[in-house]
Symmetry: C2
Subunit: 217 residues, 2 copies
């Protein structure tokens, strides 16, 4: 079990966990793959297959125990501990992230923030002091930063990502609209707002093109 898990499965596991936590709050004891599938936008077969990649957690005839499946998924996803996060770029998005309490609540603790702007360095933002980028290595090592967030302008994002990798950060969440080229022992995920909007634009434009061609007939 657990030999190369597709990305899409991992994403769905997060969604299942989210639902399980909600159900847990209502003191529900068991849940079926069918019900889990419903809100996660998956099929029941998909739920069962996803879970079966890691083991057999359900009881035939009953479904999955909400509590124990939550624990299992937290274990699988590595959410049984708190991850230390370092943020580079205290601009608009960076600031918003520093204030985003949900991250903390979900086990992602931003322990350091960096910027190159002298006007920002030394300032407190949501209780955290902004450090100069030149202190990156020292602070990352001192604080044990494990995940880096790149929220810089795109021009410097690649360089910053490289520094993070060099300094031992194993995973990067990239908010800059640029592809990062990092050593492949560093995991990267991107949050690309413009890309998502362009995806929506494509769908809207396509829908319109279809409409137009229909009225033409």
């Amino acid at each position: 079990m657990s030999g190369r898990i597709p990305d899409s499965t991992v994403r769905r596991l997060s969604l299942y966990l989210r639902m399980l936590r909600e159900l847990g709050r209502t003191n529900r004891e068991f849940v079926s793959s069918h019900e889990l599938a419903g809100r996660a936008g998956a099929t029941s077969a998909q739920v069962r297959k996803d879970l079966s990649l890691f083991g057999s957690f359900g009881k035939r005839g009953r479904g999955y125990s909400v509590g124990s499946l939550s624990n299992t998924l937290e274990e699988i996803l590595g959410l049984v501990r708190t991850w230390k996060v370092g943020l580079v770029g205290v601009g608009k998005i960076g600031t918003a992230l520093l204030g985003y309490r949900d991250l903390d609540a979900r086990g992602f603790d931003i322990v350091a923030a960096f910027d190159v702007d002298a006007a920002k360095i030394g300032k407190q933002v949501f209780g955290l002091t902004v450090s100069p980028l030149s202190d990156l290595e020292r602070i990352v090592k001192e604080c044990g930063v494990e995940i880096g967030i790149v929220a810089t302008p795109p021009e410097v994002a690649a360089e910053v990502a490289k520094s993070l990798g060099d300094v031992g950060v194993g995973a990067i969440l990239n908010f800059a609209p640029t592809e990062l080229q990092v050593s492949d022992c560093v995991a990267v995920r991107a949050v690309d707002i413009v890309l998502e909007l362009e995806g929506l634009s494509y769908l809207l434009a396509t829908a319109r093109r279809l409409d137009a061609s229909k009225t033409d007939e």
Copy 2:
């Protein structure tokens, strides 16, 4: 041509376009599929196949014209016009988005912002006046909002998304960590920061489990 395009292709088209624009700034005239692939994290065959779903835009022996392929991709992605965007939820992320000038530059113009918080209503945020959510329908129709951004707390996100759909908004970008259930004539994309971090957490945890089991042997 153009019968059901995979999502992954559309995402890559955005990346190709980004690269083409960069190349355009350096006055490059032609680019090969191989080179385009490089920075977009794709393969050359993938570039050619993606493009061939829409037509034949290259010149054999030469590659693709940077200028005309840019135009073609902008046309395909619906980026030859400006889209009117309405933002619901002027919290930390919402505020960051209002200040994010890149959206404007990329053809996504936020023309209205909504919140339920009386303290925010009527205030100017980055030059835009926050309207009460109760005015959603009127303003969406008056301004011709085509894309909605949901940046509310998760508890109300589903409800807000439904309102947006009912009021005629055809596409939604969701920042709330909840699955939205909307009529399927409304396109939805999600930006889910916690989900992305959990994906990274999974990879880090897995890498560690592997390390640990190796040292055990």
